[in-house]
Subunit: 244 residues, 2 copies
Amino acid sequence: MNDNTISNLSVDCVIFGFDSEKLNVLLLERKLEAENGETVFCDHTLVGHHVRVGETLDESAARILEETTGLSNIYLEQFYTFGNPDRLKKPRAKLWLESIGRNPEERVISVGYFSLVNVNSVHVSYTERHASWFNLNEIEDLGFDHKEILNKALEALQTKIKTNPLAFELLPQKFTLSHLQKIYEVVLGIEIDKRNFRKKVSQVPYIVPLKEKQQKVSHKPAQLYMFSRDIFEATKKKDFNFSF
Amino acid sequence: MNDNTISNLSVDCVIFGFDSEKLNVLLLERKLEAENGETVFCDHTLVGHHVRVGETLDESAARILEETTGLSNIYLEQFYTFGNPDRLKKPRAKLWLESIGRNPEERVISVGYFSLVNVNSVHVSYTERHASWFNLNEIEDLGFDHKEILNKALEALQTKIKTNPLAFELLPQKFTLSHLQKIYEVVLGIEIDKRNFRKKVSQVPYIVPLKEKQQKVSHKPAQLYMFSRDIFEATKKKDFNFSF
């Protein structure tokens, strides 16, 4: 390969998509040419590629994401680096690497990034590789060591959402508490008691109730809330809690 | 360099050491040979080296740590990877890389690991490179981009100690609450109100008061406590709290 990339360094992006009901992951479909010339399905992988000479890891992640999916300017966070010498040694991975001119014996280190987006607010553009959303709970196996990367990304996302106001990135400016609760349930994979959740929210100064209700809904309109970053910054806990 | 290592991949270990009073970091002293043949001080760096062919990143971190300091079997956790193309371009870094036969123009990716140990329970052995403890608050600059790596490691350690029972790794089996409080104060860089802290501890089921007191102390002996991992695992919170 002579494409101005570093042959033993790649970036893989785990793009989590929330669709109001469940958590999805953006995957690419990989195909191989069979002996009879037909293109056959090989496996699914995360969105990733090699890092270019002269580009930072963050720049690389943003570029790879935009090239493959058309998504730009979305939150991306580095979470872990995968460097097992055997990570590309699955039989189908070898076939596929050979088919694109990479040496399957070369040890490639992959730096993992994750992101969390609302699937309704982004447009996944299809380039030469087909990218689409898959229900996280239905993903059984992936190419290379990408299932391991996905599992580690989910852990990192769960820690992040428990320790940072990340959930609000996924909500419109004015939101209902049911919507907020659903994000925590879907990301943490737990059921949260509605009354308990509302009691907790009422003690959080930066989740502000508005004098407004939902409009144009068939059910009883729910109260709207907003997240105030100003209040969040001003009241951030400097004290320590045993919250684990 | 022909030492069976991957030339563009290294591991750097940030070893935090708690000494009952403050947080320290283990640093190496780097020296250069001056024109007159004298060996002069160059700068301090973290403990790090290149990854060997065939070795996982975790194995590499453990090996580097043991080779340089004699420390083995200690908790090490990967936290971030540093890959800025300019990270080795400081003038003194170039001089030093040339002096050991490395190409200063080569872009090296470094995978960061951190650890937290009790300085009194470990023996830092001196190998050809002098390793010693430095007060975290007094470290101004380091070689390469190691100050940035150190800052990022401290952030990772703070998140980890807030979300996991890491503090207990540093304590003897039976400890006082003053000792536990000090660990949180030193790592988080905050002052914690003693009464508040004790009130919180009394609500935590896995910090168990014992029917024992300190012995052989000049002041009034304090009550001893223990951390029960059994109780911790059985009562781990599956619910969600706005604890940020």
